[in-house]
Symmetry: C2
Subunit: 331 residues, 2 copies
């Protein structure tokens, strides 16, 4: 079985149309009516294809779908429009799961708001898990969307959220949202924020304080596995008995990298026990790789072809680790 833990909802036009209404009006009209229905979600396409088709044609058996991160608008004001939009996004996800119950599960977007405690997001997280049956959540390490003001993920600022995640036993997928700073695209900001989040966590007491916290770093961990030598060497400034590699084992990583060399590096550095299949398909990698003729995000063949991975390794990456972490997922 292939479980894709890093996957985003294909919503159709009504959700962005609702977002446009919220941002333009700045909340003047109140919550309004998203008008997102089973029918509108069922008709949604990406590049002319349904989400179901895009998943099944590459052999994905189960996708954990979350809001499309770059749209989450956590830094927009007033805060109520963030809440309205994230609620509508999660409701859209719930409809998609209802339409494809054997192929999809929900991962909650959180109404994190720049300048506020993450505790403002707990009610929505609870709703998604307890009422909508979602199995995880997306944690944006930078709700300021490029303003550099939110404390690193090792800071106690995050503790109300970690406490709730542990209580509900839901893993968090570390994935930033937009980037309002013109010097950086949101795409590169994902990678930037993953590096910052990992370094902050690795120099914190978060996993002492929350030993059952489960965090997955997207895009193969941003820059971290490639820059591993640096972090190993800098252990000489560390207060920890464990090495950087040992501490890194407390984190998990998805496989959303679109070339063999980088996937190999990921598996070699963090090990298959800490990797979960994730492709974002459809998303950043949804264009044809001229070398293979397939879309870049069709990465299972790349992983299948890595000769030194064992069948057991692959089973863990494709399914086993996801089942171990996402305990709320039932077939």
């Amino acid at each position: 079985m292939i479980i894709d833990v890093h996957n985003h909802v294909v919503s159709g036009d009504r959700l962005p149309s609702y977002q446009s209404f919220l941002i333009s009006g700045r909340g003047f009209h109140g919550k309004g009516h998203p008008n997102i229905t089973e029918e509108s979600v069922a008709q949604a396409k990406f590049s002319g294809k349904s989400h179901e088709d895009l998943l099944t044609e590459v052999g994905t058996d189960m996708a954990f779908i979350s809001p499309r991160p770059f749209t989450m608008m956590h830094a927009q004001k007033p805060e109520k429009i963030v809440h309205y939009f994230i609620e509508a996004s999660n409701d859209t996800i719930a409809l998609a799961v209802k339409l494809s119950p054997t192929l999809m599960r929900g991962v909650a977007g959180l109404p994190q708001c720049s300048g506020q405690s993450p505790s403002v997001a707990l009610e929505e997280l609870e709703r998604c898990v307890k009422e909508l049956g979602f199995v995880g959540c997306v944690v944006n390490p930078d709700p300021g969307e490029g303003d550099g003001q939110t404390p690193g993920m090792g800071d106690e600022y995050w503790y109300p959220l970690y406490e709730k995640m542990v209580e509900l036993d839901v893993p968090g997928i570390i994935h930033s949202a937009g980037c309002l700073n013109p010097r950086e695209s949101f795409h590169n900001h994902f990678i930037t924020e993953e590096g910052i989040a990992v370094q902050s966590l690795m120099r914190s007491t978060v996993f002492d304080d929350f030993p059952n916290l489960k965090l997955i770093v997207c895009h193969g961990g941003g820059s971290v596995p490639y820059q591993i030598g640096r972090w190993r060497a800098l252990d000489r400034f560390s207060d920890y008995e464990e090495t950087f590699d040992q501490r890194l084992k407390k984190l998990y990583f998805d496989t959303a990298l679109y070339n063999t060399e980088s996937l190999e590096l990921l598996f070699k550095i963090v090990g298959p026990d800490n990797c979960l299949f994730g492709s974002e398909r459809p998303g950043a990698g949804s264009s044809t790789n001229p070398l293979t003729g397939r879309w870049f995000d069709d990465i299972k063949p790349l992983i299948d072809d890595i000769p030194w991975l064992s069948d057991e390794d692959r089973q863990k990456v494709y399914e086993g680790n996801a089942r171990r972490l996402f305990t709320r997922f039932k077939d």
Copy 2:
């Protein structure tokens, strides 16, 4: 011959002592007297050893030395103390080169100042090249040191500096300085800023406007080679005829990575023609790797052991590419 293009001066105590005087007094005392002499530089040690010994014991024949980046304090105010300190740093480098003329050459620090045009640094660059015989310069993509306010390196903000670099025919080493934002260490900020700089340059007309501009991205290019699949796939949103990989060939990369897997990835993705040996030794990698018993920054054996590199590839990485770029370097 082994040329290390990413190397920093071992200054001894007088340069940091001068920095402390400047920062504490905020320029009240004027320029003052750094009191850095041939003797004080000759006696400088890193971890009990001289810079000469640290280089020769790993087989480095020539090191291009620049200021230690995290000390460059580009965001300190008033601006005059940045100018004073960078001048003193460059003078220290000139003394080190004078003491080790067969082993070292100077790479200029630039008195970039947060909130100002890079044109404020041109006089010092010219002094370093024309009077002190330096062969290159360090370009800090973020003189705001974590404030996110400086335009990306693809912006015309940078053109006065690029123009001067081309006129003087000196390569620029892209390397950020400190990081005043508590959510990120300066070490991680290096990596962050390299990713941002590359993406900004790759989506700009800089190399059309300055076809002879030579830029070297430190630390193996930050996150870029590892995340290459993402940038390849996103070519579908690009206005360029050339692919991302083709455009990336306009940049150069050092080898300051401290493990075989990452070095292999670097060479595979950007190719040996675009890589220059750089180790930072002594610097971030100067602690013992328990797997080898050598310091992490002793990376020549790692590159020697990559079986698929040819002797010609290695010659380019160790020497040929550096000679091609640093035309002002003469034996």
